[in-house]
């Protein structure tokens, strides 16, 4: 029989003390539970909100998008209803319901028609006939409005023209602001 010169092999884990084993179990438990909590946190707060698509055009809550559509209808009516009297003050008041870039665009457009309004003593009023939601997210809502435009000229009667408008409103600290009005 030949003597083995190597030191006797320690059985795996066999020589760990109960204290060491307990610590390993605790560390493994901490790591596993931290992983589970991390995955839960990602599921709850890390996933991005869905964006509107053809299959899901409305991805915000009912109360939120209804409020946005109502705001779009009210603002559109107020923005597009103006007349020759105190023309510029009305336009400035209307721009408070718009985003900055759209307010600039609106000022330019109305400046072009101011002369005609004053000269012909024109007043126009917009009445909303129907309103609906086309797409909606938490940040932006597009509303389809049916509106009637009543135009009164001095010395002439009032004419009524039916329009359709696609109105975009964006959420801001002060509520929903109009960022685009596309009429057809």
């Amino acid at each position: 029989m030949i003597d083995d010169p190597r030191p006797p092999r320690r059985p795996v884990g066999g020589s760990r003390t109960p204290v060491a084993r307990r610590r390993i179990v605790l560390v493994v438990a901490v790591l596993l539970l931290a992983g589970v909590a991390g995955i839960e946190g990602w599921y709850l707060y890390g996933t991005s909100d869905p964006v509107p698509s053809a299959e899901r055009p409305v991805v915000s809550g009912t109360v939120a998008h209804r409020s946005a559509v109502e705001s779009a209808a009210r603002s559109t009516s107020e923005i597009l209803s103006y007349g020759f009297e105190d023309f510029e003050a009305q336009i400035e008041d209307a721009t408070t319901k718009m985003t900055g870039p759209f307010a600039e665009e609106f000022r330019e457009t109305t400046a072009d028609v101011k002369g005609r309004f004053v000269e012909d003593r024109i007043t126009q009023e917009i009445r909303i006939v129907a309103s609906s939601v086309v797409t909606a997210s938490d940040e932006e809502v597009r509303a389809l409005l049916f509106l009637d435009q009543y135009v009164a000229k001095a010395g002439e009667g009032t004419s009524v023209t039916p329009y359709r408008a696609l109105v975009t409103v964006r959420r801001s600290d002060g509520g929903w602001l109009v960022s685009d009005i596309e009429t057809q």
């Binding site: 899901r56 055009p57 991805v59 129907a130 389809l144």
Partner: protein, 177 residues
Amino acid sequence: MDDANATAAARQGSGVDLALLALVVVLLAASVLGGVLAWQAREDRADAAVEQERYGEVLASARAEAEAFINIRYDDAQASIDRVAEGATGEFREEYTSSSERVIEVLVQNESVMEGEVLYAGVVDVDQDSATVIAATSGTVANKQTDNQPVGRSFRLQLELVYEDGRWLTDDLQVVS
């Protein structure tokens, strides 16, 4: 001296274990709470997805019906009317199909061709089995009165839809003047 060191090391080791145990308890509580919240979020998201997809289905059906309604041609009249009937139900379907012979006669007599598309459509209201949609269309109409030349014709439509046998069907369609 060795005994004192061993005792100090044991106390230190015991303190680390206690800290780890406390961390395990905190993480376990957080995981259980997180699990409950994640389960609730999953249920809420599933409900929201059903509702959000309903908007898409309602709009797709309303757009198809509106397009069928504004694309009618005298040389393919029966097929044009069948396309409208395909997406219709109730009184609207009955009225539309029962008057089809008269409608075809008028279409052929006038050589009417109406073509168009839905520009926008939006949901006014929707629940599990009914919906109201408005649609803005753009297109042309050509007939003997226009010397068979296409003339612009836009519509404002309001459609009432109902959910029947797994489909959204139109049971009323009105032109909003």
